[in-house]
Each structure stands twice: as C-alpha cells, then as structure tokens.
Amino acid sequence: MTRVRSWGLGLLGLVVLGVVWEVYKAVGPDAGVKLGDRLVLPRTSDRAMPHLWDIASRLTEPALGRSGAPLWEVVGQACLFTLKIAAIGWVVGVVVGLLLALLMQRFRLAEAAVLPWVVLSQTVPLIAIAPLVRRWGSQLRIGSWAWDSQDSVAVIAAYLAFFPVAVGMLRGLKAPDATHLDLMRTYGVGWRTTLLRLRLPASVPFLLPALRLAAAAAVIGTVVAEVSIGLRGGIGRLVIEYAQAAGGDPAKPWAPILGAIVVGLVAAGFVALLGLSLKTYRRGEVGA
C-alpha cells in the first residue's frame, strides 16, 4: 500500500520534472534568463533543450555507425559493457577497501598513518591518473594474459570504489558496543573470532550504504575513465562520440546520459538486493 504510494509519487515526480522541462522550454526565452550578465536559467533552443519526445523518439531511430541498430540498443550494449567493467572495479574496490579497513581497525598506527592518505587519494583528479594507469598496466604481461585498457578502466573504477568501503567499513568495525567487546574479551577469544562473530556482523549496517556508494562510485569511475582513455564499447566513449553529433542531432547526446543513469541504478539495485540477504544483521538499525 505505502509501497505502491511511494512508487506512484516517484513516478509522479518524474512526470512533474518532465512537465517543468517542457513548460520552461515553451515559455523561457531561447537565450535563457540572465541575472546581471550571468545566465541563471538555461537556454531553451532545440539544440540546448530538445523536446522530451524528441529524445524518446531519437532512441528508437538508428544510431548510425555500422549496425544500423536503434540508438537504445546501441546505448544498451554500452550499458552492459560499462556495467561489466564497473562490476569488476566494484569487486576489486570492495576487497581493497575491506582489507584496508581491517588493517586500520587492527592496528591503530595503521589507521593513523593510512587514513589521511585514503582521504587524500580521492582528491587526485582521475583524468590525471587514467592515462598513467593505462601506461603502467601495459607493462604487465603474465603468461598469455596481457593487460588491456578495460583493466585500466576497472582499476580506475576500483580507485573510486574502495574509498567509501574503507571509511564505512572502518566505522562499522568500530561500531560494536564497548559491552559487546568486553563480552568477547570475557570469553577469552582473540581478534579473529571477535572479528568474525562480532565486528563483521555489527558492521553490516555501515557496510551496506558503503557498498551502495561504492557501486555508484564504480560506475562514475568507469565512465570518466572511458572518456579519458577513449575506451571503445562503453557509455563514456559514446559521450565523446555522440557529442560530435550534438549540433545536427541534439537529442543524441542525451542517450548516453540516460544510459549512465540506468547503469548506476542497476548497480545500486544490485546492492539493495544484497542488503536484503543480510537483513538479519540489520535488526539493530533504527528505521532508516
């Protein structure tokens, strides 16, 4: 009942947004609204704000390029490609984040020394590291397996994804009540058992949002890295390529944007599913 209601309202919200878009497009001046000499409301020309139905119908028209497939299909393929890389990046990021969190929880010195660098790592612009990662990676060759650009993109995704996991999980691992820790101590069990029986279960309410943020971050990292190194197949590459058509085909650049949102939502949805399977460990949570 309430679920139906909230979905309904959500849909209504999207409709409202669409109506606002079209109404503003209809009444707003082509050159946008200026305050002083700063544009505060956007331009409404067809090039800047295509009609929503134009965007929608563009999706059903051929994408151009080799296959002649409709745009939605090409973007859909790119979504899958991006999703796959993001998933790899997410897994790697989550593992690294977890390990770092464990290290920092276990050794106070490690926390003091590493945590500031973890924060600092996220201030490095990706566009600076993406080509570097590609270059470093290309030096790697293990047996018949050789590093390729996809791996570089996945690493970039992991670079963004590990952060929320490391920070969130560290908090989660420190979340148990002092009483619970005392209890484990009275049972004479060591760090490992305490971790397994207490810290890990207690960290779930922190881990899940961290995983969701990591999923979003992985998608963002994948797309940015795809743009940066021009990796073919994904959403990021379509952002570049469709931009070139922006003048003559203004609805086209919106397609990869929608694709990026879809990928992000799918990723977040996956984590939500994961959350369902861990429900028992979230009993302590106060209604979110």
């Binding site: 590609r134 021009g230 590459r237 070139q244 058509a245 003559g248």
Partner: protein, 356 residues
C-alpha cells in the same frame, strides 16, 4: 574488438604490430583501416592491430613507452615530446596539408587572423592550437587580445554564438556545423553561411598526421627497420585505396566501429584525401623541406597563452628519417602504384542532418 586485428589462426608467421591512433576510429585514419581490411598488412607479413586513442592518450608517449610499434600524431605535438626526451622518429609524413581552420559565421565578419582581436576564440588545446597562435602572431594579434575558450567535443558553443571563431578540422568539425540546422531557416547551414580561415592560406600551417617510429629500435634493430618499410608500404597502399575508393574506405571505417554517420564519414574520407593528394613532395609520406622548416620555425617562435613555445631548439636529426618511406615508395612505384595522385579529383559529398 571487431576489426582490430587481422590475425588468422593458421598464420603464425605474421609479425604482430600495434599502431596507436591519435583519436578514436574515424576516416581521418581511413588509410590504415583500409590497409587492414584489404589485407595489405598481411601481404607484408604484418599482423597489425590498431589501437584507438582518446582525449588523454598521447600517442607519442605510448610509442616511447614501447606499448606500440608505431603511432599517428601531429608533428608539432611530437616535437615538444621529443624535446622532453621522447626518442621517436617521423618515418612518413602522410598529410601534406593542414586540415585546421578557424571558422566563424559570416555575420561576425572574421575573414583574417587580424579580425580575431577582441573575439571569443575557440581551440581544443592539447597541442592543436599552435597554428592559430602562429597565425595570430603573424597578424600582430597578441594572445591577450582574444578571449581563448577551450572547445568541447561538440560544436554547440560555436552554433550558439558563445564562440565567435571556432577551431574546426575541415574533415570533422566543419562538417559538424554543416550537418546542423540553422534555426532561422530550418535548413542545414551551408558553406555560404561561414567564413573560413585556413592556415594553409595564412601560411602558418604545420605538418599534421605522420607515422612515428621508435628511434632507438630504428637505429639498432634491423628487423624493425625492415618491418617499418613494410608497414609504411602497406599503409600507403591503404591510403591509395582510400583515394581511389572513397566510399568503400569510408564504409571500412564505419565497419571498424566508428559511430559517425555515413555522409559524415564519406565527407571526412574525402577531406582527408584532399590533405594528402595530390602529393607535391615526391610521393605520399615524403616531407618537403619547406614544410618541415616552417613547422619547426613556428614551433620555436610561437608563444601560447602561458608564454611557452613548443620547443626551444632545433629538433635532433633523428626527428625525421625518410629512408623507409623512400624505399617503400620505390617499391610501390615499381609495382605500378600511383603514389602521387596527380590526377586526384575529390568526390562531391552531400552532408545529411546529423551526418546520417
């Protein structure tokens, strides 16, 4: 990736070769895709894979790092890298002319570099801006006299009037504008709507797409030397194919995964052909000394917005080496291939909306 490699299962004898492009797959690189598609590389015993570029990929550095065997890049960009220590050599100057222009709507009245004064001038940066600066410098316009705007991947800034004079490659952005609708007329823009400053006309044109090879390997590795000749030879054959079969070459590029529309792709093939053919330097790939020294001169003497020049001294001897292309041309000529294209006539391309 489709079309990236020509290796067949039974052809172990082929030498694997990687070519780094300067940008993503498009007809700017039609010759290489054609050579791959037509089996010219295979004929030479080469198993070529083409590695696409991207905004942050610097082909000459990928080459220096040893990740690829050859790279396509513009001469002025590479001269800077060479001065920074990259050990690479121009072994074939494929484009003889510059495709870079500065375009503006007629209404802006910008017909010469001097008119850029006080205007919003677009440029991509990334080393694509030097001809513009040289042209301005020649016309006595200081960098401070214009407002320099970094141009995006699209031409919307130009179309919306944010940028008065935009940088445009004849084979790409110029066409993007011509594929766009003029909101006043409901028709596509036409060349008559635009003023075009071509750096070829101004005289500040610099050498663009060339094939670059690893200097150190060239000087020591005879197999690599041999392979270079073969690679150039097959590539030139590809370009000859693109000249003689523009539509087919465009389709090859499209099949290789380019997302550009058909008319745009053909336009690009045709315009690129115009930058190559007819060859006035003794055959495709040869560098005229005039063009080289002009390029080097501009690279030394032109300051960008931060006051820097591309290079401060003449490039080393190893910056170019025509031995291999000469050899390739000799062989090709003996095979009866027209490597000068004196009789080249461009095709007529009608651009469709959105390049479709």
């Amino acid at each position: 990736a489709p079309g990236a490699s020509a290796s067949g299962s039974g052809e172990a004898s082929l030498t694997p070769v990687k070519l780094q492009l300067q940008w993503v797959a498009q007809a700017q690189f039609a010759g290489y895709y054609a050579a791959l598609d037509q089996g010219y590389y295979k004929e030479q015993g080469l198993d070529v894979s083409i590695v696409e570029g991207g905004p942050d990929i610097v082909p000459q550095d990928v080459l220096s790092a040893g990740d690829v065997d050859y790279a396509i890049s513009w001469v002025p960009k590479v001269l800077g890298s060479i001065e920074k220590g990259a050990k690479i050599t121009n072994v074939a100057q494929i484009f003889e002319r510059s495709g870079t222009t500065q375009i503006s709507f007629k209404s802006k009245g910008i017909t010469s570099p001097a008119d850029l004064k006080g205007k919003n001038v677009g440029s991509w940066g990334y080393g694509n801006e030097w001809e513009l600066f040289a042209g301005m410098q020649k016309a006595g316009v200081a960098v401070g006299d214009i407002k320099l705007v970094q141009q995006a991947f699209d031409m919307n800034g130009f179309l919306a009037g944010d940028i008065d004079a935009a940088q445009a490659m004849t084979y790409n952005e110029y066409a993007q504008v011509l594929e766009s609708e003029n909101p006043d007329t409901g028709q596509l823009y036409t060349p008559a709507d635009l003023n075009v400053i071509s750096w070829n006309d101004v005289g500040t044109n610099m050498l663009q797409d060339a094939i670059w090879a690893n200097s150190e390997k060239l000087s020591s590795d005879t197999a690599y030397q041999d392979q270079t000749t073969k690679f150039i030879k097959a590539s030139i054959k590809g370009w000859v194919y693109a000249r003689d079969n523009a539509q087919a070459a465009a389709d090859v590029v499209t099949n290789a995964g380019s997302q550009l529309g058909k008319s745009h792709q053909l336009w690009q093939t045709n315009e690129v052909n115009k930058l190559i053919w007819p060859s006035t330097s003794g055959g495709i790939g040869m560098i005229s000394d005039v063009a080289w020294s002009r390029t080097v001169g501009i690279a030394k003497g032109t300051k960008n917005e931060t006051g820097a020049t591309i290079i401060s001294a003449d490039p080393p001897e190893t910056a170019k080496n025509m031995t291999y292309v000469e050899k390739a041309l000799t062989e090709l000529k003996s095979e009866g291939v027209d490597v000068e294209g004196k009789g080249f006539t461009p095709v007529t391309v009608t651009l469709e909306k959105g390049g479709a």
